[in-house]
Subunit: 96 residues, 2 copies
């Protein structure tokens, strides 16, 4: 989640053509800390996340929605990677 | 966000008829800590959130989606509370 959240914040900032310096200043957080959050290396508190979203002028719900969707894709991929045998077995048993 | 996330985790646990003790044991976190997370008093790290979701057997994407939706409702309510004058002004100007 930390990585997806950071990537989502970075993608939003880059799409706006804004620098780490601009957004960190707007969110009143150090440039290094924002950079670590974006790279998924530091956990952003709820308050910090709200400040970053505010500086980016995006609703937090929108960022969370993006993260949720990307996580669902990952979960599906993991599910597919783990479960093909479990999915196929009942079919084979039904055919036998 | 912390409050909405905690409330969402608590609602899921209660809907399953499970106790704080059961879920905290499954997530390998102290009962007191889980309780504080549910009440929005402690920030859950990404790893802890993953462990709680795993103990509850719900995808983290689903929990985040719920939080995102509830946050969108809150944002809309705040927006409505702040913006009626800004919305009405252009209409009055257009009529003048």
């Amino acid at each position: 989640m930390r990585e997806l959240l950071g990537a989502s914040l970075r993608a939003e900032r880059v799409s706006q053509g804004r620098t780490l310096r601009e957004v960190s200043s707007g969110a009143r957080v150090s440039l290094g800390y924002l950079s670590e959050v974006e790279r998924g290396q530091k956990e952003a508190s709820s308050e910090l996340l709200a400040a970053i979203c505010s500086a980016l002028e995006v609703p937090m719900s929108s960022v969370l929605s993006t993260v949720s969707n990307e996580m669902a894709v990952q979960e599906l991929a993991q599910h597919k990677a783990v479960t093909p045998l479990r999915v196929r077995k009942p079919v084979a048993q039904a055919a036998a």
